[in-house]
């Protein structure tokens, strides 16, 4: 275990949000504080024939306005939301990439659904019209690294580049990995991290439905209720957040201290189904706190994964209780307003956590709920809760066993 040292931990200086809660950081934060849900009947296609009909959708994303004309035809909505969020995140950070050495900046995004909608469109043309009708850009639009590649090219960032595919855990993993790259001290000063997702086309949705964890409810207010006695699965959401992470020295050149420092990170992987070994979450939390050099009592708020699936909720509540004690730390699940956004979900949780640290306010989860038996957590419901916040823990689990935990600390004056 090392002592936490903010002088070497990188800071998050810029946030861009494109989410069901709105486009832009302010719109998202206001929606989070007022409990304004972005979940509703799917409108991107007719969901009537599908067992899952609700989702969190980004309101009013005008592609012509948000995406350069040359890039729009060659990108999926997934990449387009990342392009818009990255533009906003860089502006928020006050970074002009053209003024920085190109190899000192890198891009690391999470991907999950990737360009499924773009791919479905092109595959439809292949099956109905023939190979000559498949657009050339299918070659670069659908695959997992497409967003990272487009961001790297657009902003002239030629340092480390990669994509992490750990489903919903991916947003945290990009930050953990970027922190390692920046702290290595070999020339990387700034990383574009986080991610967005576009899981709402028939092809992508039917793939998700096979996991058996999605809510088939029709009431947007109750369909996704993590830790509730009424939990019946999750609702999917599109969009996410892009986060600019940089060394403290890099931020200080512009007089910035950032929203918060990434002071601890750990990733784990669950044992196979049926194994007598416990899920990875508890030891992942322990490892992230140890990495940060913090005790459980140092954590002021937990942003939970919030699967909305009873046995997964119970496992997460048990892990939180094992580390912190029963009802000893406030827990929130802001994704109740957006649905689970896969590659974008944890990234948006980080954005929300950083705003919570800045404003000393914990956004609540949707409607008040009756906690499921066995979930001994202090879930923030009904209304936001004001509290002096210094340290936040963000948890995320991805389908298949991916488990990650990230510790964020507000910069101390």
């Amino acid at each position: 275990m090392r002592a936490s040292d903010l002088s070497v931990d990188p800071v998050i200086t810029g946030i861009g949000v494109v989410a069901p809660t709105g486009i832009g950081l302010d719109a998202h934060w206001q929606a989070a504080l007022s409990g304004k849900s972005g979940i509703g009947l799917i409108s991107r296609f007719d969901p009537a024939p599908y067992p899952v009909r609700l989702a969190g959708q980004v309101p009013g994303f005008d592609v012509a306005e948000q995406v350069p004309a040359r890039l729009a035809p060659q990108t999926d909505f997934w990449t387009q939301t990342s392009l818009a969020a990255t533009r906003d995140a860089l502006a928020d950070a006050g970074v002009d990439p053209a003024r920085l050495p190109e190899f000192s900046m890198g891009v690391l995004t999470a991907a999950s659904s990737s360009g499924a909608e773009f791919g479905q469109h092109e595959m439809g043309r292949l099956f109905t019209k023939g190979p000559a009708w498949v657009g050339t850009y299918q070659a670069i639009a659908w695959f997992f690294a497409a967003t990272t590649g487009q961001l790297s090219i657009r902003h002239g960032m030629r340092g480390p580049a990669g994509v992490i595919c750990t489903e919903q855990a991916g947003g945290l993993d990009t930050l953990g990995h970027a922190r390692r790259l920046i702290r290595a001290g070999d020339g990387t000063r700034l990383m574009v991290t986080g991610g967005t997702d576009a899981p709402l086309c028939p092809y992508a949705l039917v793939a998700q439905i096979t996991n058996g964890k999605m809510s088939t409810g029709d009431d947007p207010a109750t369909a996704f209720a993590p830790f509730s006695a009424e939990a019946s699965g999750y609702v999917a959401g599109e969009g996410g957040a892009i986060l600019i992470v940089e060394s403290r020295e890099s931020a200080a050149e512009r007089g910035r201290t950032g929203y918060g420092a990434v002071t601890g990170y750990a990733a784990g992987f669950d044992p196979p189904p049926g194994s007598p070994r416990p899920p990875a979450l508890r030891r992942t939390i322990d490892a992230a706190l140890a990495d940060a050099g913090l005790a459980p009592s140092d954590v002021d708020v937990v942003f939970a994964d919030g699967a909305g699936v009873p046995h997964l909720d119970l496992a997460e509540a048990a892990a939180i209780t094992a580390v912190f004690g029963a009802r000893r730390v406030p827990v929130s699940v802001p994704k109740t307003l957006t649905g689970r956004m896969y590659a974008g979900g944890a990234a948006l949780d980080v954005a929300t956590a950083l705003l919570a640290l800045r404003h000393g306010t914990i956004p609540h989860c949707g409607a008040p709920v009756e906690l499921a038996p066995g979930c001994e957590i202090d879930l923030v419901t009904g209304q936001p809760r004001e509290a002096p916040l210094r340290t936040a823990l963000v948890l995320s689990r991805g389908h298949g066993g991916f488990t990650s935990a990230l510790v964020l600390r507000r910069p101390e004056a």
Binding site: A69, R70, G135, T136, I140
Partner: protein, 86 residues
């Protein structure tokens, strides 16, 4: 189609690949190289694919690299159209 014009090409470029910021597609672009219009090899491949679908002529891939301006593409398509008609 009897003759493929620069305006036909402009329409394909605008609708299938898009226009780079700062480029006036309606200007005198005949002899402007595609690289200056912000078009890379993938963009040209998409343009040719669209020409094949709309006009019914396939520009041989080997010829593509030599067609570095809109005027060259228009000439090539019209030569192929004549060949098709004959």
């Amino acid at each position: 189609m009897s003759k493929f014009t620069l305006n036909d090409l402009r329409d394909i470029m605008r609708t299938s690949v898009g226009v780079e910021e700062g480029v006036d597609l309606d200007g005198p672009i005949d002899e402007v190289e595609f690289t200056e219009l912000g078009y890379d090899s993938l963009a040209l491949a998409e343009v040719c694919s669209q020409i094949n679908r709309r006009v019914g002529v396939a520009i041989p891939e080997d010829d593509l690299l030599a067609l570095i301006t809109p005027a060259a593409i228009v000439r090539s398509v019209n030569e192929l159209l004549v060949g098709t008609a004959g």
